[in-house]
Symmetry: C2
Subunit: 188 residues, 2 copies
């Protein structure tokens, strides 16, 4: 069973090392790991062509897999990496089992409240909004409801864990818990 | 031809009004609009159950459509709304034509550079990184390469336009340009 390892680890200075650790862990639980960056990017003429080539490779890699484990740890702000969110949606539409994790225990609502520095008000319908008027999702969810809901609809789980901020993108315990849950479901 | 209208407009104080404007424009171009929030959410016992019910409705709505137009205007930070990114990935995996727009002309690289307040440095491989060490995508793209690449792979287009900041989520000109391009491709 092939597992696509989605997440923002590709942006780390030691990306190769961290991806290799995830690949090794995935094998240890009996799955075949498929990781973005596993294929060579062809030479291209423009920056945009290079980006499109990488996207095309990742789409092809996803099409070759049976399951996704998505790292939804907040990335440059309140929410998950949008590339990872795209990939989670992609695999959910394919009907693949989907698991996710986040290396912070704070939920979506807490993070958005922090983003608004607590300046939150209820509107006439008792819906909480920031000073910009945008409604806050208040659903006890790790991230936007489409992400949590997508994982749930595929029978998966989202594991959260508060890690040392220095290890935000390199702690593998929540990821490993996803592997453990998925292995118990599919490989025993 | 049914079009799913994805975007963060659902969070606006006047969401119903803005969604209705998009619905009306979509009809005017000859498409059948399908908009999140078009179905009634059943009563639920918990917040989380309510969120899951909304997600389930939106997934069902997407499954009933043939195309997506996604609003990738930055939402609470440097990137698109992650719920919209999930939906774009979902529709790309279904092989549906995908269009997108953003109501800012700044590209992904510019926004991330601004997020880092210009404190960017090239690493040994000449890859630009923020002070947190995270690599910046530099691919002349509107957002993360999976989003731009997903639209491109479905033969779609991404329209960008700088609008008055006060009209960031309510200006429909870039959205309308997507409708025009899609109508020329599919309805003439």
């Amino acid at each position: 069973m092939k597992v696509y390892l989605a997440g923002p680890e590709v942006f780390l200075p030691n990306a190769r090392e961290v991806l290799d650790q995830k690949i090794e862990l995935t094998r240890r639980y009996g799955f075949v790991p498929v990781s973005p960056g596993d294929l060579e990017v062809p030479a291209t003429d423009t920056k945009r062509a290079k980006g499109l080539a990488i996207s095309s490779i990742n789409q092809r890699l996803m099409m070759s897999t049976d399951m996704i484990i998505a790292n939804l740890t907040p990335f440059r702000g309140v929410a998950a990496d949008v590339g990872t969110a795209f990939e989670l949606g992609f695999m959910c539409a394919r009907g693949c089992p989907a698991y996710a994790f986040s290396n912070t225990a704070s939920n979506h609502f807490d993070r958005v409240a922090h983003h608004y520095e607590g300046r939150i008000q209820a509107d006439g319908d008792n819906r909480l909004r920031g000073p910009d008027g945008l409604a806050m999702e208040d659903f006890d969810m790790v991230d936007n409801l489409m992400l949590d809901g997508g994982v749930d609809a595929q029978g998966g789980a989202i594991v959260t864990r508060e890690v040392d901020p220095e290890r935000l993108y390199v702690d593998h315990q929540a990821f490993e818990e996803c592997l453990r849950i998925a292995a118990a479901r599919f490989l025993r």
